[in-house]
Point group: C2
Chain length 356, copies 2
């Protein structure tokens, strides 16, 4: 099988972690007899520097023509001024929207050997296994109108939070589908006691639930969800929520695992194409030092194998290899708090590759 | 000195905790020679039941005429259906807006004796002392338009997130003022890499900062703030943010203290009048059982003494009494995880009263 994978290394540590994930994918190709054709394209700050555009047309076209996209990270202090007209994040947002990737999957699983690295007490994080499904192309991120105006001597800024029932339905449906082979519980998160879009969200989720009678649905307010993620994370199975709430809650929950560097994500739409990326940022402070944790990107590559290429056994082989390497005591600097041997980005990547 | 205090017990455990805080205020009156005139009014679900209105005009009028307002909690399953036209929360939102209370102060301080009750490791919560300043009358909570429409066979719901520079300026200014006598650091939280109101927020905060050269200002994105509250809470002094971000982050941070029941809040405007309430909800599951923790409400009463009545020594006496009682080992059920003697709501309240 020949598959086209676009690599978007991006900024900061992006190139370093993508390099390791690519090496792992190549190993999977050799082991399982697949051919992966890789091509690299510019995005984010790097693309602003090279193309004056955080998402050059050539990049978007290549992503559209690919079977899957693996991304490193975008952004950095160099392009950080919020007053700039062109910002790295626009590359990421444009890519999500351009490919119609309305669902962002973020699994948060706490590896037993790394539970000690969590800022939470071990008994709070042991056994945590949450799958977030964050809506990714709606809400405040893309709503119109958004503008700034002069009004009676004041400046007024406006963003629009909008959802259609259709946008809610497709992402909630995906959450129910994903809950089926898991623990069959969906928590839909909203702020239905205050905002209108949340009331539509809640009603639509309740409606979609009828299609999935064997999966339980509960509604939770976003503020109390932010608490429960800390006090009782194990009580969640699948959490589905709108774009901004998802942005905040997934970052909060990532802390449970002990290191941001461990966590993968997948952004999916209606087809099989998707964008896979670690949830950590570009980490400019450690860029180029060969100390970033490649695990999040390698596990993103595993999600790519599963969701875009339909290669379940291959995905599991990668996940098992990561597990084995962590179980063997290998760590990158960010996980070192949990004890074990501290390795460079490339040395850790090589271990995973060797374990496949 | 004679001062008029309106009590709004509200729903669930509200009446029980307000009763204890009132008793504490009466004790303060006796000890320090003040006369507090109390009057009780209906709000929330209780007011829907009695007046068909979560904020009867008589209640709002009494609050406007008062020197300060002490609130218990609103809401409960009885009035919870999001399709209801009239909901308890509207009483609270109407009160905030009606009194022009644009700043919600929520101190999160971890009592050394209760650090063990936190789901976080003790070394993560020891010494945490954060003051949140949440914008309370703007943003998605009140922005217009907000509506639902039929559109090409779909249902579309819209909320509006809006801020003027003036609304940002007054609440950020208060944050800087409050940081002065503290550790002189303000963290302004936004999502300036995505939304327009956040860019206005960031620019305005930067501008206001010029008036307070001896206080440091940093900007932080809301998603990474949600992480940092768990990984490095001690690094915060004053956090200022918009309404919805504040709703989520303050609830998240409340977990640090070990029990929601401990935390007070104050909602302030330009005058001295304010609404004081514990940050916990109506907790219908434990209502009427005399086991709710009255500490959050009692500490809210202390904030009332300080901010609305200008009675600093009296406020400190209440705070010291609460400290003493906790140091002595007295606990309510929710704090029992930290060890010590478990008391009823009223017994705990009596202890505090006795310690003044
Ligand atoms: C970089 C930023 C625009 C992005 C977002 O807010 O979606 C990031 O925080 C994420 O969660 O992927
Ligand atoms: C009850 C609700 C409307 C309210 C809010 O969202 O402001 C509450 O969560 C709070 O934080 O005081």
């Amino acid at each position: 099988m020949t598959k086209k994978i676009v690599l978007l290394p991006g900024d900061g540590v992006g190139p370093e972690v993508v390099r390791e994930a690519r090496a792992v994918l190549e190993q999977v190709g050799r082991t399982f007899g697949h051919t992966f054709e890789f091509s690299e394209h510019a995005i984010g700050g790097a693309a602003i520097d090279s193309h004056d555009d955080p998402l050059p047309k050539s990049t978007l076209d290549a992503c559209k023509a690919a079977d899957a996209v693996l991304l490193g990270a975008v952004g950095g202090p160099k392009w950080d001024d919020p007053k700039r007209k062109v910002r790295p994040e626009q590359g990421l947002l444009g890519l999500r929207r351009g490919l119609g990737l309305y669902a962002n999957l973020r699994p948060v699983r706490v590896h037993p050997k790394l539970a000690a690295a969590s800022p939470l007490k071990a008994d709070k994080v042991e056994g945590v296994d949450i799958l977030f499904v964050r809506e990714l192309t709606g809400g405040l991120y893309f709503g119109e109108p958004r503008f700034r105006e002069q009004l009676e001597g004041k400046v007024r800024a406006v963003d629009t939070l909008e959802y259609t029932d259709e946008e809610v339905r497709r992402v909630v449906r995906l959450a129910f589908r994903l809950a089926g082979p898991r623990r069959k519980r969906v928590t839909s998160v909203d702020k239905a006691n205050v905002i209108e879009t949340s009331r539509l969200w809640r009603e639509t989720a309740t409606e979609v639930h009828k299609e999935f009678p064997d999966v339980a649905l509960e509604h939770q307010l976003v503020d109390s969800c932010a608490m429960r993620l800390i006090t009782a994370a194990r009580s969640f199975d699948v959490i589905v929520t709108e774009n901004m709430f998802g942005d905040i809650l997934t970052d909060e929950a990532s802390v449970l695992a002990g290191s941001l560097g461990l966590l993968p994500s997948a952004s999916l739409g209606d087809g099989t194409n998707g964008v896979y990326e670690p949830i950590h940022g570009s980490a400019p402070d450690i860029a180029g030092k060969d100390i970033a944790n490649p695990t999040g990107t390698i596990l993103s590559a595993a999600m790519l194998l599963r969701h875009s290429l339909g290669l379940t056994a291959e995905a599991e082989a990668v996940e098992r290899a990561v597990d084995d390497v962590i179980n063997s005591g290998a760590r990158t600097a960010d996980m070192a708090g949990a004890g074990g041997e501290s390795l460079s980005t490339s040395a850790f990547g090589q271990r995973v590759l060797g374990a496949i």
